[in-house]
């Protein structure tokens, strides 16, 4: 696609429910990143994929968070047993080069609200 596409753009869920957030990167981009941004804060790193594998998942806050990228393109961020503190905008970015974030293009994000 022309840019990084994230769906849904908004998601409201009840506390304790499971959610999946999808990221469709720019075609040909091998690196994919997930960030989380709370109100008034900068984006916080969650996980980085190079191809199909998670090269760095050190930012995932706990084991309720998990992400996959089975075919090296689309990625899904999965959150189990959601909590109100998970409410944030979840941003996805992709790039050609694995560590050169200059080429990283961000999607519009998914605003997750846990009620």
């Amino acid at each position: 696609g022309a840019g990084v596409s994230q769906t849904p753009s908004n998601k409201v869920t009840e506390k304790g429910k499971y959610v999946e957030l999808r990221c469709d990167p720019i075609s040909g981009h091998t690196a994919l990143y997930w960030y989380r941004q709370s109100l008034g804060q900068g984006p916080e790193f969650l996980i980085y994929f190079q191809g199909t594998g998670a090269a760095d998942d050190s930012g995932l806050p706990n084991d309720r968070f998990f992400a996959v990228r089975p075919e090296g393109s689309v990625s899904t961020l999965k959150i189990q047993r959601t909590e109100r503190g998970d409410s944030a905008v979840y941003l996805c970015a992709s790039s050609f080069a694995p560590v050169t974030n200059t080429e990283a293009f961000f999607g519009q994000g998914t605003r997750l609200t846990v009620v």
Partner: protein, 117 residues
Amino acid sequence: EDKVVQSPLSLVVHEGDTVTLNCSYEVTNFRSLLWYKQEKKAPTFLFMLTSSGIEKKSGRLSSILDKKELFSILNITATQTGDSAIYLCAAAPRRSNYGGSQGNLIFGKGTKLSVKP
């Protein structure tokens, strides 16, 4: 702990004013510093700075890095209402020694700039 601190957190100016946004960092194995503009949700890339003292310029925006004092500034001259946004500064660590990749950017909280007509 690695951190990036931006100041001011918010700024209100009038069209035509010049503004300077500040970013200081403490990052182990620092490689580069990046500036993004965030309107609504998606940050858009502005500059990447790797070397000290070399100004990067794009139209009315310019930025410079001081690796000795560990800070960067973003200047916007002749501000316009369209410059209103959150400006994010982020530090990129170097690739780790064992060859693993590091894809994380360490962001500051941002500076919210409001330009009044």
